[in-house]
């Protein structure tokens, strides 16, 4: 029974920590006329869905764009990082240490610097304000992480499995496709989830490379919302709630993959 006070304290701490998230919900259900009530309403006693109606009416295209960009980013990230992770983990390529170092350095480059570089390149190629351009830029957030995670995971696959396949006459590509990839399912899920979430949440690339586009992701949709009508906070918060759905989904259904992702690369086991 000694530990029940810990549970109580834990619940209180979570309540404090997640208060902003509760507040987002609360405001999203508040009537526009109650928005400036003093003191603010702590509970949505008299909830309204006008915020959600407005959000869905205006932001549905942006949500679809974000979904598409997220999936594109996942695909590009996997295509680049899966074979590279395999090579670094199992094939002992020349210059592996150099690539390790480059990946580490790549993660340190501020996004604003990357955005300027991409802007300068895209303006010449005519790729500003394109979805493809945004997918490429967003993938830079996930590729170094993907390679490092795949390498760490694939290094733990026993070499005997590969040797057996090779004795049976399988090529390296065949070994990769039929043995390594199926065994790496969990790490593929982890990398895909993070690549999707980062692309979905991206604001810097969207606000720089896509700022004059008609086809905008949801982050930019919310940002323009804030700029346009500062009185409609219930609509803004309703959009924010909808934009948080992927995060909620991850937390409920894919929690163990998240913990695997956060600790990867930071703590050695």
């Amino acid at each position: 029974m000694k530990s029940s006070w810990r549970t109580v304290l834990g619940i209180v701490l979570v309540a404090v920590m997640l208060f902003p998230v509760y507040w987002m919900f609360n405001v999203s259900l508040t009537k526009t006329s109650d928005m400036r009530a003093d003191p603010p309403h702590w509970f949505p006693w008299d909830p309204t869905f006008e915020g959600y109606t407005a959000a869905l009416g205006q932001q549905l295209p942006a949500l679809a764009t974000s979904l598409f960009i997220g999936l594109g980013t996942v695909a590009l990230t996997l295509v680049v990082s899966l074979p590279a992770g395999y090579a670094l983990a199992k094939l002992r390529p020349l210059g592996a240490r150099g690539i390790d170092f480059l990946l580490l350095v790549a993660q340190m480059i501020p996004a604003v610097v990357m955005a300027m570089g991409f802007y300068a390149i895209y303006i010449r190629l005519g790729m500003l304000n394109t979805v493809a351009g945004l997918i490429v830029a967003d993938s830079t957030l996930a590729v170094p992480f993907g390679v490092l995670l795949f390498r760490a995971f694939m290094a733990s696959i026993p070499g005997e499995l590969m040797a057996a396949a090779q004795i049976d006459g399988a090529s390296t590509w065949r070994t990769f496709r039929s043995i390594i990839l199926p065994l790496s399912r969990n790490s593929v899920i982890t990398v895909s989830l993070f690549a999707f979430l980062w692309a979905w949440s991206d604001f810097i690339f969207a606000s720089t490379l896509n700022r004059n586009s008609d086809v905008i992701p949801i982050t930019l949709g919310i940002f323009r919302y804030i700029g346009n009508n500062t009185t409609q906070w219930n609509s803004i918060m309703a959009t924010a709630v909808i934009a948080s759905i992927p995060a909620a989904f991850l937390l409920v259904l894919a929690q163990r993959y998240i913990a695997a992702g956060v600790t990867a690369g930071a703590v050695k086991d």
Partner: protein, 313 residues
């Protein structure tokens, strides 16, 4: 030269008797090629373009026509002597160090708290990840509304304690503090998860032995947990430093670096010059960005060194 280079290959082939059709090194290279091309096209080239921007005078017109004037290090001299520079540098230091110190302290306290298993501990710990998973625009706009001067919940709560209205985001005295608080909130989950994983590596026997010797909880923390956690702590703080230096979203969405330059960090300054005004000024923005890279790399080198030392023993 040629003979020296070919000899090991010949020897190896002789030793294997049956040469493979393709050398494994070439296969490895084939698997690495997408990544290498990717790094060159989407990391090296943007970085090169960024350096190129910083040593030319890129006006919007020069951007389109591709004929900017070469100015050498003028842009760097200009930003270093700009009034905004010292302000941005000290704001960056306050924002970064303030954020990581508090994030670390709270993250560690929570990690120690959750280290003991109790009913619901796993589920409650998972709830702490929420701020980290939310899109930054969501968190930043929520905090903006909570900190709103007239209608924000924070001021309403403070009023109950007799504290008058604080203009969190619009007063030069508090805007940096406001964005730092929001950023601390965002960073706690990361610190909690890594430090919690670090705690798992400390053997329970040590605590048991200390308990037998009559050490109380406070002594156990300072004599066992804290010293043994030092390598993990160092990496957590350094990664926090590198991430926090880069932060743009949260500050830009909440205050746009204002009022005046009150919450302008180096990253915000760079973003504002390039994209934040109607008049894009890419060359000084790129110079500020490159300066930021240098600071991040310095921190990164320390990180690599620490990790190497940890690997060795």
């Amino acid at each position: 030269m040629t003979s020296v280079r070919t000899r090991p290959a010949t020897v190896r082939r002789a030793a294997h008797q049956a040469p493979r059709r393709r050398s494994p090194r070439w296969t490895a290279l084939a698997f690495l090629t997408p990544l290498v091309l990717y790094l060159i096209a989407f990391y090296a080239y943007p970085l090169y373009r960024n350096i190129d921007l910083s040593v030319h005078d890129y006006t919007p017109r020069a951007f389109v026509q591709g004929d900017p004037e070469f100015t050498g290090l003028d842009n760097y001299v200009n930003i270093l002597s700009d009034d905004t520079f010292l302000r941005a540098l000290s704001n960056t230091a306050l924002f970064t160090l303030g954020s990581i110190a508090v994030q670390y302290a709270l993250g560690l306290a929570l990690a120690v708290f959750f280290h003991r298993h109790f009913r619901l501990s796993v589920a409650l710990r998972a709830m702490f990840l929420v701020p980290w998973l939310l899109p930054l625009i969501v968190s930043a706009s929520t905090w903006s509304w909570m900190l709103n001067s007239e209608n924000g919940i924070v001021n309403a709560a403070l009023q109950a304690f007799g504290i008058g209205q604080i203009n969190w985001l619009t007063s030069p005295d508090t805007s940096l503090l406001a964005v730092t608080i929001a950023n601390i909130w965002l960073g706690i989950p990361f610190n909690l998860v890594i430090l919690y994983a670090g705690l798992q590596t400390i053997s329970a026997d040590l605590y048991e032995a200390a308990g037998l010797d009559g050490a109380n909880a406070w002594q156990r923390f300072w004599r066992i947990t804290f010293p043994l956690l030092r390598p993990v702590s160092a990496i957590t703080l350094l990664l926090g430093l590198i991430y926090t230096l880069k932060v743009v979203d949260i500050i830009w969405i909440m205050t746009k670096g204002g009022p005046a330059d009150a919450s302008t960090t180096l990253a915000i300054w760079s973003y504002r010059e390039a994209f934040g005004t109607g008049q894009p000024d890419f060359s000084p923005a790129a110079a500020v960005g490159n300066l930021l890279i240098l600071i991040a790399f310095a921190a990164g080198l320390v990180h690599v060194r620490l990790q190497r030392r940890e690997e060795r023993g």
